[in-house]
Symmetry: C2
Subunit: 334 residues, 2 copies
């Protein structure tokens, strides 16, 4: 899969920022890859990019239309089809994270064929994976794990990849979800893999590498989530992380989508992740705690960092704010 | 999925008993569902059933041809096609546990259409599952878990279902693998489910039931297997077992397909399974240890039972031999 950049981001009629979450992720982490935005009537969100038609974007060098809106149910909407066909006719590929495949819409399939364009369904993979073999690989690996879903595992992996590369270290972000794939241009939507091959796909995602190279792997789900813990465990085993970072939202007390389930303590979550990680890498260890402090003021943030550091004896940081020096120092010791 | 019984079992050119494992499982657990066997030239195994052609089997009331051989790679073999077409023309459905789908072979697809027959690909499901919700369901559930793959989790679940129903209790075997589905006529090949829905499929498999009804769920994989632990965990969480049985082979010291990985102790395996099971059912407990003693003599078997009982303080049994009274007593206390 080679995605042609830069993107024209298709916001369609996204009602609000939440429904355009993917777009904000790509804009924030790959501003160089975002040429413009395209809204339809009724759009209630704004990326701050230049509004463009498909033809205008192609004239400026755009490579792909990125579907940057996630409607409930994850299906391609009927009323988007004319715009998607227009994009293909103008010369763009399309990148989609929808559950339904682009080529399952006959008009889109025909327009892609007519124009020789590529349709990227990042939630679907045509690659065949093997079952994991559990063999140790060369190079170093960091995996972000969480006390719940949707609290910063992707942003933490991106921020640490940036912090490592900015100081000259070799590091690669390894995407395991659709937004991560759109940001990095490659990866595996691990939750869309047939379950026999979760760990095998994770092994494939971070192959042998230089001894001083870090693969920084985006975590998925949580061992404490009643629906997704199997995905988290397969990813943990296949990633064979040398370093783990626990991601946490200090304001959350219940699993977001399953409020009958409590958020674990940091020390419980670390102990469970570590005991399971050691199956495939006995040297696994935690190196830091990433806190989502976006809803806290400065005093609240400082208090959250202090509490997490007292509980875990590890450096705490916010992936959007840092500080990263403590966690980098931990990584240097591996 | 409603599979038409009884089966004509297609042994094809299975080299030996190991390659016909599925057939032996169905013959042993559903003798009432096995009308005859059909061998091709070169077949090196024997079920002890009457040899029949497809037409002969149909005349005696057969409903389906069961592909009872598993070649390396799990693909439908080119030289089977004439026999499979002959079966469809004679009036049989086909039941397959192959990785490839029956309808992907044009001759088979055409013959099924021409004769109005049904093709069952038990490793593939057309059902759409939801992500698990983690809600408690009515009725009682038992899940078999293992220190490794392929050491008796299916046989243990089948044996306990039989022991419960023979004494008049309400119990249903819930199949999670292809042979189990062929035996019971329904179920989910859980390792073929998209990983986001492992636990959701397990919830679907054992729905609300009478308060005194036991769902006896076939376990898959092992938390100690570097490739399949994610499947095991999703099945554990979605099953919400009240009762767990640990299945173990006392002669095995290494994970069968990954010999760099040791088999855990019974007490470690119980502690880990139990701590993870408690996420979705805080009342989960172990009720017995199922030992595969097929390679032990009487003295070795007695010693293995005594050792397991001393280590776990639970009744030990062999699923093919019993005794079941101890474990049934444990179940009565739930």
């Amino acid at each position: 899969m080679t995605i042609k950049l830069p993107y024209l981001i298709f916001l369609a009629d996204a009602a609000d920022d939440v429904h355009a979450k993917t777009s904000f992720g790509v804009r924030d982490w790959r501003p160089d890859a975002c040429l413009g935005q395209w809204k339809l009537a009724g759009c209630g969100t704004e990326l701050g990019l230049t509004n463009m038609t498909a033809a205008h974007a192609v004239a400026q060098g755009a490579g792909s239309l990125l579907i940057g809106v996630a409607p409930v149910g994850g299906q391609i909407q009927e009323h988007w089809i004319p715009a998607l066909v227009e994009a293909l006719d103008a010369g763009l590929d399309i990148v989609s994270g929808m559950h339904s495949k682009l080529e399952d819409v006959p008009e889109i399939a025909e327009a892609a064929k007519r124009n020789g364009r590529t349709l990227h369904n990042v939630r679907h993979s045509d690659r065949k994976y093997s079952a994991a073999n559990g063999d140790k690989r060369t190079g170093k690996r960091l995996l972000t794990v969480g006390t719940d879903c949707a609290l910063g595992k992707k942003y933490t992996a991106l921020a640490l990849t940036r912090a490592l590369t900015e100081r000259g270290d070799k590091a690669t972000f390894r995407a395991t979800g659709q937004t991560g794939i759109m940001i990095s241009g490659d990866g595996i939507a691990i939750d869309a893999i047939v379950s026999d091959f979760i760990a095998g796909a994770a092994e494939w995602l971070s192959p042998d590498n230089d001894a001083d190279h870090w693969d920084v792997i985006e975590g998925q789900g949580s061992l404490y989530h009643p629906a997704f813990a199997g995905v988290s465990l397969g990813l943990l085993h296949g990633s064979q992380p040398d370093a783990l970072i626990l991601c946490h939202d200090p304001l959350r007390t219940k699993i977001d989508s399953s409020p009958a389930y409590p958020i674990p303590s940091l020390s419980d979550a670390m102990a469970l992740n570590l005991s399971l990680a050691k199956l495939t890498n006995p040297a696994a260890r935690f190196v830091g705690v990433a806190l989502n402090t976006s809803k806290l003021d400065d005093a609240g943030r400082a208090a959250a960092f202090a509490k997490a550091e007292a509980e875990t004896k590890l450096p705490a940081f916010d992936p959007l704010l840092g500080p990263f020096d403590g966690v980098l120092e931990q990584l240097d010791a591996i």
